[in-house]
């Protein structure tokens, strides 16, 4: 019963969160805190913090976290399944349409203009993240040289030396720890 309830709740979260993690947070809050009382408001804040700190989509992190608190490992698995089921159906249909009709002139033209827009979205996401690490947000007076240098080194490693992105991220994590401890208030 509780498993079915978890499945349904996370299927709804999967179905109605359009546009990624930040759209999912209020839905998770409404299902897990307000409707079912699976988490307290404080636990929900913890969840938001951990979801931010751990890899993976926020909705899936929430599904595992809530599921395991409510019904153990089975709960985590069922909530995760619920969360991905709407995507499986809808995106598979989209994939079929794309495979079949992408050569149509109209769809071709739509895709021609979607691509530059997507490039712009990716660039904006990257610049926002850079501002976040190097300036703690958008105020340029919060500039911190150490993270900025670390970014520059990582960028150089990727562009000039074609290093693997995952290796670069791991090295940056290690550098963050060392520099943060060595330079007071540096990171």
């Amino acid at each position: 019963m509780i498993l079915w309830q978890l499945f349904l709740s996370f299927a709804q979260i999967g179905l109605f969160s359009i546009g990624g993690g930040y759209a999912a947070i209020p839905l998770i809050q409404s299902q897990a805190v307000e409707i079912h009382g699976w988490l307290t408001a404080e636990q929900f804040l913890d969840l938001a913090t951990i979801a931010e700190m751990t890899p993976g989509p926020i909705a899936l992190n929430a599904a595992s976290f809530v599921g395991i608190q409510v019904a153990g490992i089975a709960g985590a698995v069922i909530a995760t399944l619920g969360c991905v089921l709407p995507s499986l159906v809808i995106v598979s249909a989209l994939s079929w349409v794309y495979g079949r009709y992408r050569r149509l002139p109209l769809l071709q033209s739509v895709l021609d203009f979607l691509r530059p827009a997507v490039v712009a979205l990716i660039a904006a996401a990257g610049i926002n993240m850079l501002l976040q690490v190097a300036c703690g947000g958008r105020a340029l007076n919060g500039f911190r040289p150490v993270p900025a240098l670390l970014f520059a080194a990582a960028f150089l490693a990727l562009r000039r030396f074609k290093c693997s992105p995952i290796l670069v991220m791991l090295l940056c994590g290690a550098a963050g720890l060392v520099l943060g401890l060595a330079v007071d208030g540096g990171m």
Partner: protein, 188 residues
């Protein structure tokens, strides 16, 4: 590559990528581009961008949506299942383990420093891919597409307009361009 090898590669690629996607859907898409376009050559750049647009516009987590699209394209239904399974395992395992002692983790100073450092790397990965894609797009020298790119950037970066509307707007320009072209073509 044999079918079995392909499925295994798909599964393990998505497993590693999912285990390292700090910071939202665009990170996973950039890592997927490096893996499936640059390294394995299973998709071309345009397909990856098309898939990003679809993953972003459909409901659900962008990472899962992108995995579904790449999986179908590379190896049909088994490919889709392999890619999605690879994507959901890391969050499932990590959160299940962490939920036992998450307070310790969330308040730890060393963990915070490592994560701060990794964010610098993530920003570098995204901007590296964005720069490559942007240079490629500029090569075409199609003014209207460059305008769409600049407008989309301004809309999201300065005006914080919801991504869905930006994608719908770009699609509308595409439809208008196609209709105008058709009209122009019909003229004797």
């Amino acid at each position: 590559m044999s079918r079995g090898r392909r499925l295994l590669t798909l599964f393990f690629s998505m497993l590693t990528i999912s285990a390292f996607t700090f910071g939202g859907g665009f990170v996973i898409v950039t890592l997927m581009k490096r893996k499936f376009v640059d390294e394995l050559g299973w998709l071309d750049e345009n397909e990856m961008l098309d898939m990003t647009a679809m993953a972003q516009s459909a409901p659900g987590a962008i990472a899962v949506n992108a995995a579904i699209l790449v999986g179908w394209k590379v190896a049909g239904l088994p490919g889709m299942l392999a890619a999605v399974t690879g994507t959901v395992i890391p969050p499932l395992v990590i959160l299940s383990v962490l939920s036992a002692f998450y307070r310790l983790f969330a308040d730890n100073r060393y963990v915070a420093l490592v994560l701060r450092g990794m964010q610098c790397g993530v920003a570098a990965v995204i901007l590296d891919v964005a720069l490559s894609l942007g240079l490629k797009a500029a090569e075409g020298k199609d003014a209207l597409r460059l305008i769409v790119m600049a407008a989309a950037f301004a809309a999201t970066f300065f005006f914080k307009i919801n991504v869905i509307f930006i994608i719908l707007g770009a699609a509308a320009v595409g439809i208008a361009a196609a209709l105008l072209r058709r009209k122009g073509g019909e003229r004797p």
